[in-house]
Each structure stands twice: as C-alpha cells, then as structure tokens.
Amino acid sequence: MFEFLLRMGDNTLVLGHRVSEWCGHAPVLEEDIALANISLDLIGQTRLWLGLAGEVEGQGRDADALAFRRDVWDFRNLLICERPNRDFGHTLMRQFLFDLWHFERLSDLSLSVDDRIAGIAAKCVKEADYHLERSKDLIVRLGDGTVESHSKMQTALTALWPYIGEMFTDDALDAKMADAGIAPLPSSQHVRFHKALNETLAAATLMRPTNDFAQMGGRSGTHTEDLGHMLATMQFLQRAYPDARW
C-alpha cells in the first residue's frame, strides 16, 4: 500500500515541480496564471497522497520527509512526469498525456474499497477533470493552428510517445492492489485512454506515432538522468540544513 501511494504522490510531486519551473516565463500572462494553478493543485494532491503514505508506513515520516529526504531510487513516479520542460509544446503535450491518464486513474480510484484512497481520489478527480479539459483544448487549438504550432506539437508528441506505455504496464504490486479491490490494474485503462487520445489527436490534426516501444522503470525506481537534477534543486534546503524547521 505504501508503495502504491508513493506511485500516486510522486507523480503529482514531480510533475507539479516541473510545471512550477515555468513561473514567470510562460508565453502569455494567462498561461503563467494557469500553470501556477495546475502546479498548485498537483502539489496539494501530493500532500494528500504522501501524507497518507507516511501514515500507512508508520515510521514517523510525513509528506515533507518523503518529498524532500528520499533519493532518486526511492521515487516511484512515471517517467513522463520527470521529462524536462523543453519548450512550451513539450510541456503542454506532457500535461495532456498525463491528464488523460490521471483523470481515468482517479475516476477508478474514487471507487476503491479503501475509503481513504477513494476520498483522496474523489477530491483530486475534480481538479484532474479541469486540467484535462484545459490541456485537451490547447492541444487541439495548437495542433490545428499554424504550420509551426502544428509542427511543435507533433514533435512533442513523438518525443513523449515512448513514455505512454509505462502507464498501462502491470506488475506484481498492481496485481495485489487489484486483488484487494484497492485499485484496478493499470492495463484496464489502456483502451479508454487510447480511444480518448485518438479523438483528440484527430481534432488536433496530429499523427499518432507508430512506434510502440515503451521506456520503463519509473514505477520501480529506475529513472532518467533528469530526476536527480530536479531533486538536487528541490531538496536543497532540507538537505543543507537538516536541523531547520521551515
């Protein structure tokens, strides 16, 4: 259960951090506001998931201890969440693909037999619904905008495509969670995800990449090089001043 909660909380922590890197640097003021808002939601969700993870673990670690005092190999997020911002197209495409998965995942989890998980998921799914509505809308408009915006979005889709497969690959922990009625298998979302994805890509005039190779490892602690750099920044104060309270 602890590990499962880390998977949920680390996704929102890592992606929330990535989105917050845009602060003050977005293409237009409205996007600065929207990105801060999304990041804020994701950090809020992190506090719920990691807070519960700390409780379940029972070793006195709270959400901050889990966020700021673990090293890379203990993180359980999907690799797509840690992919760098690159340009705004990558950031939006990453957000859209995550939102599409996240919304479905949270919808399922809101039916969990574990009331605590169902409660958190029911709260977070409302935010995820809004995030998805926004990111889907932008993907369509930019995909079907200018030649340049279309090309940027297509490039981003191709670059992020190998990180989708990990979302739907089941492992032993997933099987245990499914057997216990806590969370359905990730693979059970696969068809719904791709159906919705195809609809949006068609509206956006974007081509679905044909390569089905999937980069794996995030959910078991083998990450990309980028996560270590992110943690070096994010955890700096807690690591440099371990006795301080903030």
Binding site: G24, F88, K152
Partner: protein, 327 residues
Amino acid sequence: MYAQEVKSTGLVVKPLDEMSDEERAFQVRIDAGEKIEPKDWMPDGYRKNLVRQISQHGHSEVVGQLPEGNWITRAPTLERKAILLAKVQDEAGHGLYLYSAAETLGVSRADLIDDLLSGKAKYSSIFNYPTLNWADMGAVGWLVDGAAIVNQVALQRTSYGPYSRAMVRICKEESFHARQGFDIMMKMTSGTAAQKAMAQDALNRLWWPALMMFGPPDADSVHSAQSMAWKIKIMTNDEGRQKFVDQTMPQIEYLGLEVPDSTAKLNPETGHYDFSDPDWAEFFEVLKGNGPCNVDRLRARNIAHDKGAWFRDGLMAYAEKRKIAAE
C-alpha cells in the same frame, strides 16, 4: 507590488479660474470625491499620467514574478511551495487586472508589453535586486508587499474608477502576502543560527530598496502637485515612507532583528521613527538600468515573449479558422 512615482506630469496645477470649462467641471468632480469612468471626458495629461502609472504598476506585478519564482523550485516544504505558488499566481493576476484597467484608457496591452520589453517602460526598482536566500521570500512578502500596501491602500481612493476598483481587490490579496512573508520571518528568526543569519541578511539587503519603493524625497519630486490634485497620487513619497517605517520598526524589534540603519529610532516628540535616507545615487543607477538584476529581468521577459510567439500565433490562427468556418 507597486511602481514608484519617479517622474510625474511635470505640469503645474492651474487655479480653477484659469481652467477651461471642461477642466473646471472635471476638477470639481474630483474634488467632490466622484470617480472618473472610462467614457468620461478627461484632460490629456490625466489620461497619459494614468496610463503610465497603471502600466508601470502592471509591469511591476509581471516582473515581480521573477524574484519569487527564483525560489519556488527550492521551497523547503510542500506547504511553503504551495503558498509561494499561490502568491506568485496572485501577482500575475494583478498584472492582468492592471493591464485591463490601462486598456480602458485607450491603449493596448500588446503595446504596453512592447514598451516593457524594449526597456522604454519602467517597473518598480525593487525587482532589480536579487533574492539570495530563502528568508528573502519572507522579507519580500513582509517588506516589499508591506511597502506596496501602504501605497495601494491609499490608491483605493484614487479618482479613476477602474484603477480604484482594481486596488480594492489587489489590497485584499496583498495583505495575505505580507502576512505570509512575516510568518516566514517568524519561523526563520525562531529557528537555527543559520536561519537567523539568513533572516538578518535578507533584511540588510532589502531594507534600503524597500524604502526606495516610495520614490525620491518630496523635495526632489516637485511635479507631483498635479497628480495629487487629480487624485492619481494620494500621499507624498515621504508620507508613505514614514508610514512604512513606523509600521515596520516595531515588527523588526519583535523579530529580534537589527535594522541596518543606526539612526533609526522612535522620536518621542513626533511619535514617529527617525531614519536615514537610502542611497539615492544607487536608486537612480537602478532606474537607469544598472541595478544588479535589470539586465537579467528584462532578458527573462524577452525570452519568454519571443519563445512564446508560436504559441500565441497558433491560438490566433485557430480562432481565425473557427471564425471563418462559422461564417
């Protein structure tokens, strides 16, 4: 956040009997405390001065995201990160209200932003100073937003309706910002030796720039009389500065910090704090573009704008396609 008045209209206030009928009627309305609305007649000088002041204020909010954004990725707890994100999001929102208020005076946001990016338009000098340790996030909220509130509370009474209404809303959020800043300072000053040192360092660096936010001494800004008569400016630079020092000195004492001004102390005769002038030569250098961060701040805004062109163009093109399809 607030853009300080550096250069005012340069106009001398005319006595009522030397005004045209329109000017006189306008001044009578202002004197009676009425709000001027976008479609009302107004003197050119009033309009120009307001556009400059409101847009500088808007630019300050937008550039003001950067010094705090500098620490969002290093915020030490999830709660602090969330609070800082919410605060910076508010600042960007203030930028939007203010640009919208300026647009009611017949200018376009795109032109205002071009003036910011080219360096023609100014923003508050405070944002040309760096944020170097975590306590700066406390000191910025406490001192910078604290100083801004002194001006902005007064500006709620400004004569121009849209600006006044924007100020009402902005002030509510700014007082939350100042409180969260003070909360960080309390945590830092009651923390470890290293945290106390960070808090003192932040105060040492930001105290003087915060005093500069009110603009040059009244004796050197003789042109503000017209702005005061038009109620574009509600209090003088020195009045605002004194009010800020009076409210902040007891807080510095409460925190157990030392103000970096050996002359600052309560004057029992006046009931106000005496204090020294900031280095005005430094202030004018910062305005000229020679502050520690002027180049970096403007560069960051220009990069964001240039790299975002395809995004804005893409959205416009899509909207245009939909419009044509609907016709």
